[in-house]
Structure formats: structure tokens, C-alpha cells
């Protein structure tokens, strides 16, 4: 985000005013009457970045994105006459930005390990040259969605440069030949006088347009069994991950960011820990995408506004992230946005609202909290882009409810705007059962829409899913009885349900992100493991009817083998799971024969 002069188009008028009051990140200034709401301003002699958030008779109220300690009333404020925008162009991938798109790596090189107020850095390097291949020639007509050319941004990402979404119809008068260009170089000139650079800008608070919305009918495969099979998310879908501290929100988000089959990942660390972003920065470059064989950093953009960085920039970081995501969606990619955590973003809204002395609604949050949440989640979705291709943004928002209590406002309002809810459970986390996604409280409304896709892959999915959920529900009911009278008092058929449920928990739902084999599980393997466990259940029920005692069924060595399949059978050798299934069938056959003989 550049506080310096605008690029391209008519130069907007700069307006100068004067500070009358400073209260933390909120500053009031007079003399800005002709500036617009949500315009970017430079505040004080230190020229800190800010944004006008309210205008009234007393002047303009400004939120400041940097620490304003030492600023004095009377200092000047300059409005740049344009809204807060991000720079979009090659060089975004693999970069770590703060909430207002300052490049943290470059700031570190220029100013050291600590972020001081007033630091500036180019969001996109203006020196680096990119290989540009034009897709049009002079005389071609240009409108919104016209592909101007391509740039190979990383091995994984072909960066497609389009005419800006609002360009009026015109013709190209000059097109740069194939070659190396910087983001500031003009690549196309039109007969209407438009000069298009390799990079563009877009205001963060405005959704980028698309032609129309499409149904989210394809799953976002995450490699996490509990998600893909039980509570699937579709490409273009929105999910919330609520959970108290230590239940694994961030770990779940990291796992999805690492292995999901989106083309681009935008990871927004919003008001969270610095070390978590460092973890991503050190780990991601080493991790290899299971599908492409390249480092997953080559498809990732990071936005880090940690909890100790200025709170106003935290409010913006979410919009910065989603705007970058829309930019890549418009190239026809499937983008996944991780927002960790939306509660911290809501708290930033609350803090700023409090400074503005607005009337609070629930728990001090401003009354417009649900509106802002809705706006954010609606920027996700699967669309037909201006260029006529499908593209999608899936949003996975972490929610940090105080005290782990899901009845608080942020969780409740978020639930209205998402369709997939992965509730993290404290008891599971305490037993280090990760991902601690509760199979009782979670839900996914996308399951129905994804059925067709799964039917093509494996028609058994729907039934498996329904049976598993039903079995786990029954187990929960039985557990309540067991807690009162003990498992021994149950009939064997019901105890078998407990045994199978235990196998589903340990052998299927629980998944280790640190185990080389277990961390990523292909859909075929997911289904096979689950099928085998349920087959055990069917065979067990049959055997019980034949008079085989439960202890013999529990004692089968092939039963223990099944619960270890997840970690012992790699994704490319899933035939071994089928073999284990056959072994199991044989073992049950023998058991049946043994008791038949004894009876006879």
C-alpha cells in the first residue's frame, strides 16, 4: 500500500489539514472537509499511514496504522484523495506482508529486527524484472477481463495480467513485445489514452467484480480425513474453526494450508503470535506439495499482523488478504484464504469503535459487527471471472471464543454466514486427539452439493459418511449410559458399537500432522480405511449372532492392525489396506468356524 503519489489515471487532489486531538490509534483532524471517507492520509510530521473513518462537523476522524507515540496536536495531515489500496502484480507469491502490505522481509533488510513507526517499503519490488509474454497485439479490442499477457511468477503460478475490471472498451494502440519488465513498466497503451502497467492497484474494502456466481460443487481436498469425509468444504465455500485456546485452530489452519488442493494460499495471521508466522516462514519453504512436487511456498502469500502490532492495521489485514485472493481468483485459480483469527479482527473493530465512542451492542462489539462479517465471507465463493473462466475463493476463518464458549457474538454471527462448521473440542485436545474437530457439534452443508463429485470418485462415500456419523451419534448416547453404569452392563451388540467407535476415533479421525505417512491422506485411502473399519463392525455383528464372544472379536490381531493402517500404509500403497480387509474377513471366518464346531 503506497502512501506516496498515485500512479496512472488523473492525479487526485491532495488536501492538507491539522491534528486537533490524539487518543491512541484514533486521531481527529480539521481542514479535511474536501477529503473523502476511507481516503488514505499521511498523519503528522512522521507521515504515518492512516485512513479517514468518520467525517463530521468537528473534523475527520482517522485511524492510524502505526504507533503514534510522540505525535502532537497541530501537526499536519495530508489526504491523498484515494482509498486504501493494495498493489497487485507479479512478486506477491512467496512474500510476507504486514496488514497494510508493507513487505516485512524488505523492512528487515532496511531497518533491522524491530518495526518502527514510519517505515516504508515497496509492496512489489520495482527493480525486479519479470518475463512478460503478450497475449494481444496492437489493434485488438480491450475491455474488462481481456488477457493482456502472462508472466511466469513461480514454477507453480502463471501470472495472468488482465485489463483492469473497470476499463472502458477500447483498442490497444501499443503492446510491449515479449521481454523482461518491471512492475512499473507500461505494457499496453490504448487508443483512449490508458496506460496499463504490469502491476495494478485495487481498493481493499471493495470486492473485485466477477461475471456471475457458480455453485460450489467441487470439494477442497485437505488430506484431513475428518474434514474430507465427514465435514467437507467445497472450493468456494466458507468454513469457521472455532475453539478455545490450545484446541488447535492454528494447527488445523496450517495443515490445510500445507496440503489442500487449492492453487494459491493466502494466509492471514491476524492478531496472533509472531512465532506462528515464523513457523510458517521456516517450515513452508521446506515442504513439498504432494501434487506438484514443488515447495508450497511457491503458492503461498503471508500476511502477518501479529497481536502486538498496531490494532488498526489488524482491522485492515483481513481485507488486504481477501483482495489479494480475489486478484488470483480472477486469473482462474482456486484460492484458499486462512484467516487466523477473525475474533482478533472483531476485537480490533471493538477497540476502534470504543475509541470512537460509538454505542456498543453485545459485549462491547459495535452493532455493525455482523454486517462486516457478512461482507467478508461473501467475498468468498466460486465465480465465473470477467475472462469467462471459473475461479474460487474458499475462506477458512478461525474463531477464538472467550472461555471456549460458542454462544459469544463473534461465533454466533459467523455461523450465520458460513456453511461449514468445524467445532474444536476441549476434551479431545486435552487427550491430544488432533485434529480436535468434534464429530458431534460440527456440520457441513456442502455435503449434499458435493455428492455428485464423490459419486464419480467413489459412490460409497455418501453411505459411508452417513453410517459413520450415525454410529458416532449412537456411541455418544451409549457413552452417557456407560458413564453411569459402566460398559460391562451393556449387551454385546452395544459394546461392539463402542469398540468400533473407538477404532474410528483412533484409526481414522485422529491424524498426526507430524507423521510422515499420516499427515496427508489421499481420498482413496480415507475411504478404504473407513470401509475396512465398518466392515469390521458388520462382521463383528454377524459373529456375535453366531455366538462368538466379544472378547474374541476384540482380541483379533487384525483388529489392532486396522487402527494402525493410517500411519503404516503410505498413500501409494493402498492395496495393503485391501489386503488387511481380506485378512480381517478370513480371521472372522475362522472365528465363526471355531464356534460353529464348538456348538456342534
Amino acid at each position: 500500500m503506497m502512501p506516496s503519489g498515485p500512479r496512472g489515471g488523473g492525479a487526485p487532489k491532495a488536501v492538507q489539514g491539522r491534528i486537533t486531538r490524539i487518543s491512541g490509534p484514533v486521531v481527529v483532524a480539521e481542514g479535511l472537509g474536501s477529503a473523502g471517507l476511507y481516503d488514505v492520509v499521511e498523519v503528522g510530521e512522521a507521515r504515518l499511514a492512516g485512513e479517514i473513518i468518520r467525517m463530521d462537523g468537528r473534523g475527520a476522524t482517522i485511524q492510524v496504522y502505526e504507533d503514534d507515540t510522540g505525535m502532537k496536536p497541530g501537526e499536519k495531515v495530508v489526504s491523498l484523495g484515494r482509498p486504501l489500496s493494495v498493489s497487485l502484480g507479479p512478486g506477491l507469491i512467496g512474500t510476507i506482508y504486514d496488514g497494510i502490505q508493507r513487505p516485512l522481509e524488505r523492512l528487515k533488510e532496511s531497518s533491522g529486527s524491530f518495526i518502527k513507526s514510519g517505515l516504508r517499503g515497496e509492496s512489489l519490488s520495482t527493480r525486479r524484472k519479470w518475463p512478460f509474454a503478450p497475449a494481444i497485439k496492437p489493434g485488438d479490442s480491450i475491455g474488462p477481463g481481456t488477457l493482456l499477457g502472462t508472466v511466469r511468477e513461480t514454477e507453480l503460478v502463471e501470472h495472468r495480467v488482465f485489463a483492469p475490471p473497470r476499463s472502458p472498451p477500447c483498442k490497444a494502440s501499443h503492446v510491449a513485445p515479449a521481454g523482461e519488465y518491471t512492475v512499473d513498466d507500461e505494457i499496453v497503451e490504448t487508443d483512449s489514452g490508458l496506460r496499463l502497467r504490469l502491476a495494478q492497484e485495487w481498493p481493499v474494502r471493495q470486492a473485485r467484480p466477477a461475471r456471475r456466481r457458480l455453485a460450489p460443487s467441487e470439494p477442497l481436498i485437505t488430506g484431513l480425513r475428518v474434514i474430507d469425509v465427514l465435514f467437507p468444504l467445497s472450493k468456494g465455500g466458507c468454513a469457521a474453526v472455532p475453539g478455545g485456546f490450545g484446541t488447535g485452530k492454528t494447527m488445523t489452519q496450517h495443515a490445510i494450508a500445507k496440503f489442500c488442493d487449492a492453487d494459491i494460499i493466502v494466509y492471514v495471521g491476524c492478531g496472533e503470535r509472531g512465532n506462528e508466522m515464523t513457523d510458517v516462514l521456516t517450515e513452508f519453504p521446506k515442504l513439498v506439495d504432494p501434487r506438484t512436487g514443488r515447495s508450497i511456498m511457491e503458492r503461498t502469500i503471508l500476511i502477518a499482523n501479529t497481536s502486538n502490532m498496531p490494532v488498526a492495521a489488524r482491522e485492515v489485514s483481513i481485507y488486504t488478504g481477501i483482495t489479494l485472493a480475489e486478484y488470483y481468483r480472477d486469473m482462474g485459480y482456486d484460492v484458499a484464504v486462512m484467516a487466523d483469527s477473525t475474533s482478533r479482527w472483531a476485537e480490533a473493530l471493538r477497540e476502534l469503535s470504543g475509541r470512537l465512542e460509538e454505542m456498543p451492542a453485545e459485549e462491547g462489539f459495535p452493532a455493525y459487527l455482523p454486517t462486516r462479517l457478512a461482507e467478508f465471507y461473501e467475498r468468498g465463493g466460486r465465480v465465473e471471472t470477467l475472462a469467462g473462466e471459473p475461479g474460487s475463493i474458499s475462506i477458512i476463518g478461525a474463531v477464538s471464543p472467550p472461555g471456549g464458549d460458542f454462544s459469544e457474538p463473534v461465533t454466533q454471527h459467523t455461523k450465520r454466514f458460513i456453511r461449514c462448521f468445524w467445532a474444536l473440542d476441549r476434551d479431545l485436545a486435552n487427550a491430544r486427539h488432533y485434529p480436535a474437530i468434534s464429530w458431534i457439534d460440527s456440520y457441513s452443508e456442502y455435503a449434499e452439493e458435493l455428492r455428485e463429485w464423490w459419486d464419480r470418485k467413489d459412490p460409497g462415500w455418501k453411505e459411508l459418511r452417513a453410517r459413520t456419523l450415525e454410529l458416532m451419534k449412537r456411541e455418544q448416547k451409549l457413552e452417557q449410559i456407560v458413564r453411569l453404569i459402566g460398559a460391562d452392563a451393556l449387551p454385546d451388540e452395544q459394546r461392539l458399537i463402542l469398540v468400533t467407535a473407538e477404532m474410528i476415533k483412533n484409526g481414522f479421525l485422529q491424524q498426526s500432522s507430524f507423521d510422515e505417512v499420516d499427515k496427508y491422506c489421499v481420498p482413496e485411502k480415507q475411504l478404504l480405511i473407513l470401509q475396512t473399519i465398518l466392515e469390521f463392525h458388520d462382521l463383528g455383528e454377524k459373529a456375535l449372532k453366531q455366538g462368538v464372544p466379544l472378547s474374541d472379536i476384540i482380541g483379533l490381531p487384525s483388529r489392532e492392525r486396522i487402527t494402525r493402517l493410517k500411519g503404516e500404509v503410505p498413500n501409494d500403497r493402498i492395496d495393503e489396506i485391501r489386503a488387511a480387509g481380506r485378512e480381517l474377513g478370513a480371521a472372522f471366518g475362522e472365528l465363526g468356524l471355531k464356534y460353529e464346531r464348538e456348538d456342534g
Binding site: 507515540t69 496536536p73 524491530f114 518502527k116 478455545g244 485456546f245 508466522m277 459485549e363 458413564r483
Partner: protein, 471 residues
């Protein structure tokens, strides 16, 4: 401008005084306020406009008059003088010497609020710190550069535990320069004395910097104390390359001072009257831990907080848990049974543990073993609930074995003497010994290779046979 004075206030209420507009009053700058008695009170400008300024005092406001009060703007934010001489000194809550010696000789002053560390400049912490406490080393490992708070309650042994950690903490890889920074906020003199004695006994007093804002100091002073302490810690860690262990106690008193100020400013409260920015404010303290590129040093934080009414969902422990990299939770029930250090293992957590343990760091079996101990102990807890309803006699043989495992886990693994310094190897071996009391096919979280390598086969069998519930 330094030395510029202004006479008279327009309002004095609680810790906030309002003075008429003074030229050049910068937001966040320090001011000295003199009452009619001439006593100097330090404060900070928290709101500055063309008409007036609001100053938040770090001292009592008793005796301030509207007419006779003088306000002097100091023209700089609150700073701490730093230098190698910090070591071995005791300061008050505002960073002024409190041990009777003069100010330290140094021309370097640092703003106590500090600047946030650039996330791209952090080094991910992975060095294992051996504390000698099994419940920490084995299950919730402390890593150099981590912030790991102790969630405690009144009367629980958090101070003894913190002192034991300070005494025993060491890095397996060898000797490196270290220092301890201690910030006491609203604690009694006895508690401060306890720590001083503990440091003295282990012979590290000359490497300790103390900032004490005791219970009888104005509560508002506590808001500055941890910031002074962390400024000193940052100087020692990133300026001098030392490994600094920071003990902050008691964070609950800090939060209450914050609530007091917020209430007197008439801010909209969020939960339990705490201000909406409690999270951001705590983060500005806790996030000042870690390691950065280009410096050999590190800051490891052990904040101590007493949970009001032992309630972990109270905003103070709750928000702390969301910021820190885990928590060590003390348990009253264990303590009442006479167990020390009475760490409640299940709700405790170390987020950085995953990357600091295992082969080459602790031992190859550490990850799987701790995961299995967690799973087995969690099972014990549910068996206990069952036993309290149907009676122990009615439990299945397997459940009885889990019950016994849990008892031994608490007695042999979690409990240890205050001066017992267990090596990580000893800790893990105890874990294996306890697991050998369970059937092998219940150990689903451990790979077969590890079971074959470490699970005791014969040695502990005798013990098992003695148990009456053996089937």
C-alpha cells in the same frame, strides 16, 4: 519541551488528571506533576488535543489541587537506562533504583514500550530447556524463546515451581551466558524475599535484575513494571547476547490495574469490566519474547498469574492462553493431596514442544511416548468418573488397570521433590515404566518399533503381578 511548566488542572479524578492545553504535548510522552506538597508524580499523556491534555499518573493523586498543581512536560516517552550494570540491581516499578545505589552508569536510554519484532526477523525457537520437572520436560516441554505462563491459584505452589525452574533450567548443549529478569507486580514483600533468597541460594543473584512494584505501591505503577523488565531483558538478550529468563508475577495484578484505569477513563468495558483492548495490551507484554536473527540471545518468559476463583475461563487466563505458547496449569485437588508440583497435565500445553523434542534434541521416543501418556491419562480421568458412580469394584479389569496407571502417573511421574532434578532420560524412562502396566494393544499412539525398543518387558512385570486387578 523539557522543563516547560504549566500551572493548574481542570480536573483530577482517579489516576487521570486533565490539564489545560500545553503547547507541544506529544501523545504518550511523560509528564511530572507536582502537588502543593511539592512531591513529584510521574505520569503519561494519554489524550492530547488543542484544548486539553489528559495525564495518567503512576502514583497516588492524593493532595493534588486544581489551582496549585504544576505540570512539567518531559518531552520524551517513558524510558529505561540500560547497560551491563543492570545485572545484580533492584529497581522499583518505574525503573528507578530501589536498592540504595545510584542510577546505573550508561547514556543509553530505551523506550519501555519497545517496538514490535518483525515476524520475518524472528528465529523459530527449538532449543529444549531441561527444567528437571517431569510434568514439564516430558509432557509440556519448555523451549528457549517461549512464553509459557503458570496458571495458578491463591495458595498453590507457583512460586516454588518458578524458583525450581529458575534453579534447574539448563540447555543440554552447554554453557552460555544467561541472566534472569524478575518483575514483581503487586506482590507481597515476602514473595519478593522468597525469590531473592532462592536466587541467592543457587548463587545467581549477581545475574538477576529485579523490578519490584510491591503490594503497597500505587497499583497503577504496575502497568509500567513488566515493560521496564522486558526492556531490560531485550537489552541483555539482543544487545549483549545473553539467554534471558523473565519471570513476571503476578499478571493478574497487572490486569486489575489496567481495569482500574480503564474504568476511571469511562471506557466501554467488555467481559468482567476489563477493557476491550486487554488482549492487545497483554500481547504487547507477552510477544516480547523469542529469538531474533543476528543475535545469539533469547528471551524466555514465565509469567505467573493467579486465576481468580481458580476459574480458567476468567478473561485473564483466557486471553493469556490465546497469546502465550501454551500454559502450565496447577491443580488444587492434586495440591491438597500433598503432591508437588501439582501440575495438572491435561489442560497444560506447550505449543513449541513439537519442534523441540525428538531425536537429536531429547530422545527419539519422546513425541510418541508423551502422546500415549496423554491419551492413557485422559482415559484414567473418565474411568475415575465412572468409578465414583458405580464404585471401583464394579470396574472392568481393563478399566482397573487404567485406574492404577493414573494413580502411579500422578504419584511417580507428576510428583517429585522440590530439589529433585530429573534428566530427560529419567523422565521418559518413568513414563515407559508406567505404560508397561497397560496391555500392549492399548498403546495405539506408539509405533511398534518404539514399543520394542523401549517398553520394559520383564523388569516391571513383578510389580504388575502384585496388582490384584490383574487378569
Amino acid at each position: 519541551m523539557r522543563g516547560l511548566e504549566h500551572r493548574g488542572l481542570s480536573r483530577a479524578e482517579g489516576p487521570i488528571v486533565i490539564a489545560r492545553r500545553v503547547e507541544t504535548a506529544g501523545y504518550g510522552e511523560m509528564a511530572a506533576v507536582y502537588g502543593r506538597d511539592g512531591a513529584r508524580r510521574v505520569g503519561r499523556v494519554v489524550d492530547s488535543s488543542l484544548e486539553s491534555i489528559a495525564i495518567q499518573l503512576f502514583a497516588s493523586n492524593a493532595g493534588l489541587s486544581i489551582d496549585d498543581t504544576r505540570v512539567e512536560l518531559l518531552g520524551r516517552p517513558l524510558e529505561l537506562r540500560v547497560g551491563p550494570d543492570l545485572l545484580g540491581r533492584v529497581f522499583d516499578g518505574l525503573g528507578e533504583p530501589a536498592d540504595g545505589y545510584p542510577r546505573i552508569l550508561s547514556s543509553e536510554r530505551r523506550e519501555v514500550n519497545g517496538d514490535p519484532i518483525n515476524p520475518a526477523a524472528r528465529v523459530y525457537p527449538r532449543d529444549f530447556i531441561q527444567t528437571g520437572v517431569s510434568a514439564i520436560d516430558g509432557m509440556n516441554t519448555l523451549i528457549r524463546g517461549q512464553k509459557l505462563p503458570i496458571f495458578s491459584g491463591n495458595g498453590l505452589p507457583h512460586n516454588r515451581l518458578a524458583a525450581q525452574i529458575v534453579r534447574q533450567a539448563r540447555i543440554l548443549s552447554g554453557d552460555e551466558p544467561f541472566a534472569i529478569v524478575f518483575a514483581g507486580m503487586g506482590i507481597k514483600y515476602d514473595v519478593a524475599r522468597f525469590f531473592i533468597d532462592a536466587f541467592e541460594r543457587s548463587g545467581v543473584l549477581s545475574r538477576v535484575v529485579m523490578f519490584l512494584s510491591l503490594a503497597d505501591s500505587p497499583s497503577i505503577e504496575r502497568l509500567v513494571t513488566p515493560k521496564c523488565a522486558l526492556t531490560a531483558a531485550e537489552y541483555l538478550a539482543y544487545g549483549m547476547g545473553m539467554h534471558v529468563l523473565v519471570v513476571l508475577t503476578d499478571m493478574t495484578n497487572y490486569c486489575e490495574a489496567l481495569r482500574e484505569v480503564s474504568a476511571s477513563r469511562g471506557e466501554v468495558p467488555s467481559r468482567k469490566g476489563y477493557p476491550g483492548y486487554l488482549y492487545s495490551d497483554l500481547a504487547s507484554v507477552y510477544e516480547r519474547a523469542g529469538k531474533i536473527e543476528g543475535s545469539a540471545g533469547s528471551i524466555t518468559q514465565i509469567p505467573i498469574l493467579s486465576m481468580p476463583n481458580d476459574d480458567i475461563s476468567n478473561p485473564i487466563p483466557d486471553l493469556t492462553g490465546y497469546i502465550t505458547e501454551g500454559q502450565i496449569v496447577l491443580d488444587r485437588e492434586l495440591f491438597q493431596r500433598g503432591a508437588y508440583p501439582s501440575i495438572s497435565v491435561l489442560p497444560s500445553l506447550s505449543r513449541l514442544m513439537k519442534d523441540g523434542i525428538g531425536e537429536g534434541m531429547t530422545r527419539d521416543d519422546h513425541k510418541e511416548l508423551s502422546s500415549q501418556l496423554f491419551a492413557a491419562y485422559a482415559r484414567t480421568k473418565s474411568v475415575r468418573n465412572l468409578a465414583s458412580i458405580i464404585g471401583e469394584e464394579e470396574l472392568s479389569p481393563l478399566d482397573k488397570r487404567f485406574l492404577r496407571f493414573g494413580e502411579r502417573f500422578e504419584a511417580e511421574f507428576v510428583s517429585q521433590a522440590e530439589d529433585e532434578d530429573r534428566s530427560i532420560g529419567q523422565t521418559l524412562d518413568i513414563g515407559w515404566k508406567l505404560l508397561s502396566g497397560l496391555p500392549r494393544d492399548e498403546l495405539g499412539r506408539i509405533s511398534r518399533a518404539m514399543i520394542d525398543k523401549y517398553l520394559p518387558k520383564e523388569g516391571d512385570g513383578a510389580d504388575e503381578k502384585r496388582s490384584p486387578d490383574q487378569v
